[in-house]
Each structure stands twice: as C-alpha cells, then as structure tokens.
Symmetry: C2
C-alpha cells in the first residue's frame, strides 16, 4: 500500500487532522481584506475566540507560526529590567529559553531532564527571592508528551506579582488551562493543535495587566499594533485570508462541540492510549504522573527503530504517527490525539501496532490493547 | 444587487484574484510537515521559485505577510555600522523607513511627495559620498500607483558597493525586475500580488553577497535559519501547509504561462487602463511617467467621493476596486490589474464606470473608454 495523504489515519503531534468543513472554507475566492465583508469575518472570529481560550480578554490573531506568537509575547512582555524565570524540560522549553534570552537581559533558567517535571520547590524558591518580574514556560511539552502542572506553581507566581507568560500552543483546547483562575497574563495558542485549524495563525490572549505592560517588540509582531487594528476588526498587515476563513469555521465547530466536551474527549482518548500502550508491554517516555493528554509519547519497542516500526505503520497501514525530536529521534514515537481525533483513529492505530508487534514476536497479550481502547469508549 | 464575494469582479491592489486550481490546492487534508511527502512539495516549490524571480539564487519562504518578509530582510541585512539610505514616496516607502530605523543606527531618508519620483540626482549625490552601506526602497509603490525607476539608480548603487535591498512585494511578476542586471542583493515578494497565490507567505531572494552579510535579526524571521532548513527542504518553524500547497500550484500556473507573458499582459492591461482613464476625462494620481503597470491610481471624479463612486461600483455592479490609503482616502481609486487579471475584468469595470459618470452627467465621450480597452486587446 502506498502512503496516501488523502485517506491517511493522521495522528501526528500537530498539525492535526482538519475537518472537511474547515478545508472547504478556504476555497472562497479572494476578499478585500480592508473591506466590510472581511471586517465582518474578523468580527465573528473575535466573538468566537473566547470559546477557544475559555475566557474573554484581549485576543490577537497573528499571520505566522506558533513561534511567531511566542516571539510576539516574549519580545513585548519580558522585562528589560528585572529578572525573568524560564522553565524547560523539553525541546519547546529550550526554544522558549532561546527567544526569551534575545529580549531579556537577566534570565534564570530552571531545567529538568526532558520528560521530567521541573521541581515546583525550585520554582517557588526562585520566586521567593522577590525579584522575578516574569515567568515563562511551556504548558504542554509536545516534544516529550508531558504536561507541566501549572496548578502547582500558579499560586506562587500570582503571589510574586510576576507576569505569567505561557506557551499554550499545544495546550489550548487540548488540556484544561483556566486562565483566570491561574492568573495567566499571556497565552499563545496555535491554530493547528486543539483547535484543528490549519497551521499558519498564532492566537494570543492577554490580560489587562499584560496589555498595560506591553512594550515595542519587533515591527511585524508588535502586539500593541495588532490590538489597535483589531479594535476596528482590522489587521495591521495583510492577513492570510484563507486561514482566517478556516479559523472562523474551526471556531464554529469548537463552539458547536463545546470546549468542555473537546477537553473531555481528548482526556478519554489519552487514557485509552496510555492503557493500550501498557497492554502492549511498552513504556511511556515521560514521567507517567505528568503524561500529556494531547500527545502520548512512547519508547520504541525494544530492538525496533523507526524503519521497523513507525515507517511500517506509514507505508503498510497508511497511519501517520510522529517520531522523536533532536536526541529522541528514532527512540520514541508519539501519538497525537487532540483536535478532532476520534475513537476510530485509535482503533485503527492500535490494531496495526498489535499486528506489527505480533509479527515480530513481541506482543505480550494479543487483543488486549484494542480491548483497553474499546473499554474506554463512551 | 448585493455584493457577492463568490462572483465579484475583483480588481483591488492585492491580494488579487486566485485561480480555482490554486483555491482547490488548499483543500488537501493535513500533511506531516516533517515528513517525506511535504518535503517533496517544498522541493518542487524551490525548483519553481526561479520562475517567479526570473533567476536562481538563495530563495526563502516565510509563513507571514509581506511585512514579515521586509522585517526579515532589513533586520538581517541593514548594517549596524555605516550609513543606510532609504528612499520613499508613498505609504510603503514610509513603512520601509520605519522598519529600517528599528535596526540601523545611521539612516538617511530621501523623500519625495507621494506619487512623485525621488530625484535620481539626489540619490547619486548621497551615494557619491562613499559611506552608504545599504540602499532600501520600494520598487512598486502600490499606495500611489507608481513604479520607481530602478534602472536609473541601479548602476550608481552597484558602483557604490552598497547592498541593494528592494521591497518587491507588488513588483515581482508584475513589472520587470532583472535582479542580476541591476545587481539587487535582496528582494521580497508577496504571494498575493503578481503571483496570484493567497496572502500569507513572503518570498525572499538573496544574492551570494547578501547571504555572506546576514546577521541575526529577529528569532522568527532569522534568514540564516530559514536557509539552513530549506537546504533540507524543511522549514525552521511549522509552515502554513495549505498556503504552501497553493504556492506550488500558483508557481506551476506561472510556469505554464511564462513570466514574460505575465509581465507583458500586465503591461498591456495597464496601458489600456491608462488610456481608458484619459478617455473618461479623469486624471492619474502619480506622475504619469512613473505610472505603475500593476495598479492604476486615479483621482476620484470631481465632486464624487467614495460613497458616490467606488461604493456604487461595489454595491450596484459587484466590482471591487481599491480606495486611497492614509491622506489619500476618499481622494483616489486604484485598479489592480496584475496576477491573473484579464481583459474581461477591464471591460466590465470601465463599462460600469462609464455608466456611473454618464448618469452623473460627467462622461465626456460615451463609449470611448471601452474602445480604448478593446483597441489594446491582443
């Protein structure tokens, strides 16, 4: 069987599968991005964005990758005077560290091994020193399939008075992120993760306090300029019109489903995936206490590299999972189950994995992984 | 008649009309942007990009508006030591000036009134001082319908040894821009102008000399990082996959048509538009010697503002032209005739304009504008 992008079972760690309604939305002919019709679309998007973030606030749409959203947030909000605290335990945390260090002069980075939690006691100790003006971290570390426990450190950040700046690219609409309760000041979401729109837009939520603290970052990513234009349902620079049309449709789908339902389904798919992985005799890569609900990262079956495992899934079964990044390449595989991923995807995927392991004489309990999935279906 | 975006005659100054083949290309389901299939698409795009720029070279694709491409170019190439010369005679020239001044410390700006050429003698006088390290300008100033005469100043820039950095967003595939002959070191093209792809990608061409001169700009727009990834047919950050698919299709269409043919057709449509405007008794906004071939900017009919003129075209005839920017709002209208614009668009547009002026008792020679168009058809 040849890999067929039109019919593949698509479970990479994002971009995720896109609903046909969202794909079709992009086929509308050109629009005048400075005209009333497009302003109407931006108006609708602004009305729908609180569905995504779970709260109202100052919300910005940037034509660019999630990384553009991160640079917009950090370049506009990390303090030039005062200390910035960065937490990292994966590839995207390291990226946060790189971006923050371009704009902040006094940075303390707390690192944990990839896949392990940064000890909250260490975070609290730094905050207790009283001079931290901003805390930056990745909520959901897709690279290692780990969700950082923000509930644990949010109260300490709040008490310190520091700005709380969160890379929520793969967290928003994937795992619970109660922005108000945790006192988060800025969150970046990507269009291509829990929301299940195409990649190419970054969505930024800002608190009142964050808006007051904005300073000029880069020219293109100046959040103050974006906010000013959006007040008139406009954009400072030419928007990627088809992606805005897709965003509106994906937000409508999310509204129809409900954010709570999407979070709950993502959680159930994650529980089923983790149970199936255990039944296969395989091991999660991250500390299981912090396993992410949007992406399950698993150590490759012993003695099997990508060519014997993930590539067989792709070429023989037309199933796309994702491999490891950087030092983890060839060592782990990752199953994305956020956005509009659903039970049939897991059934097809674990059936094929059972078959591959069975043929290799490495399947401990035939049928058990599939049963774990079925038992968790609604 | 209600304005209908699906059937409108679409002649704004960009984004331009998109061919149905290009629209359909975006409806492909999600792809793994780190997988072989997508790398194959990037490979094809890289092979096709010289069709757009008319030459080979180091060519980069950025997920972002044209403004992102400009900030990538200027932040990475304007010298930190030494003088930078900026030319401006319109809204986009003023934007160039703003971006350059974020990154260069010693900037001389030569301004002409909007719509007038910057005197080449003044440019040459600055270059003759011998300390200019970079020259920055907008080739085609869409805001006022003017094309700057690069042929006139290119030899002086070349002789000075300064880097020649050109905003070609609305010039590339719209008006001739012989990169090699003029010694241009960097050009930014927008996807949504002469190429007729959707907005949301910026394309940058760099000379060997420019690549050697790159220094770190912003994180997201670091041209060196983009070049390094593209060598492996990859992108440093998650690409806007549907826009890449559309880009490939638009480049294929351009290849099938031929760059020379597109430039020639754009020129003929411009000549026809200018002749029709004269026949209507109306006046071009810019100095006619420098009138742009991609967009014809015209002073509004005397006594008619946007509500009496451009809005009638839109609401009554379903024809979209563009108005003026900033101080020119309500004073000029602009007809875009680049990309895949064609003769039927001009016929429909000038027929409607004749009708509006006739009803207002302001049409000097009935039928003459249309005749000027017909006489210039192939």
């Amino acid at each position: 069987m040849t890999f067929d992008p039109e019919t593949t079972t698509f479970l990479i760690a994002g971009p995720v599968r896109i609903h046909p309604r969202v794909l079709r939305a992009m086929s509308m002919p050109s629009l005048n991005h400075r005209g009333d019709y497009f302003h109407g679309i931006v108006t609708e998007i602004r009305e729908l964005l609180p569905v995504l973030f779970g709260t109202k606030g100052h919300q910005v749409i940037i034509t660019g990758s999630g990384t553009a959203g991160l640079e917009a947030m950090y370049s506009s909000l990390v303090p030039k005077d005062g200390r910035t605290l960065v937490l990292t335990n994966g590839n995207f945390g390291d990226r946060t560290n790189s971006i923050v260090r371009r704009y902040a002069t006094n940075v303390t980075t707390l690192s944990a091994p990839w896949g392990q939690a940064v000890p909250s006691v260490a975070v609290k100790a730094e905050l207790a020193k009283g001079d931290v003006k901003a805390v930056c971290l990745v909520h959901n570390e897709t690279s290692v399939g780990l969700a950082n426990d923000l509930a644990l450190i949010a109260p300490a950040v709040k008490a310190s008075g520091a700005l709380f700046l969160v890379d929520g690219i793969s967290a928003v609409a994937g795992i619970p992120l109660p922005i108000e309760e945790w006192g988060v000041d800025a969150v970046v979401a990507g269009s291509q993760k829990g929301l299940a729109a195409p990649a190419g837009l970054a969505l930024v939520h800002l608190s009142d306090r964050a808006v007051a603290a904005l300073h000029p970052g880069t020219f293109y990513l100046d959040l103050a300029a974006h906010l000013k234009s959006l007040e008139k349902n406009d954009t400072p620079w030419t928007p990627a019109v088809p992606l805005f049309l897709a965003l509106r449709e994906a937000l409508l789908l999310l509204k129809e489903e409900g954010l709570d339902h999407r979070l709950e389904k993502t959680h159930r798919l994650a529980e089923a995936s983790r149970a199936a992985v255990r039944a296969l005799g395989l091991e999660l890569f991250p500390d299981p206490r912090y396993a992410s609900d949007t992406v399950t990262a698993v150590k490759n079956p012993p003695g099997m590299g990508d060519p014997e495992f993930r590539k067989v899934l792709e070429r023989q079964y037309n199933i796309l999972l994702q491999g490891g990044q950087a030092a983890l390449a060839g060592k782990i595989f990752r199953i994305g189950h956020m956005g509009i991923a659903d039970w049939p995807d897991l059934l097809v995927t674990f059936a094929a994995i059972e078959r591959i392991l069975s043929r290799a004489g490495k399947l401990p309990a035939p049928g058990q992984a599939l049963r774990e999935v079925v038992d968790r279906m609604p």
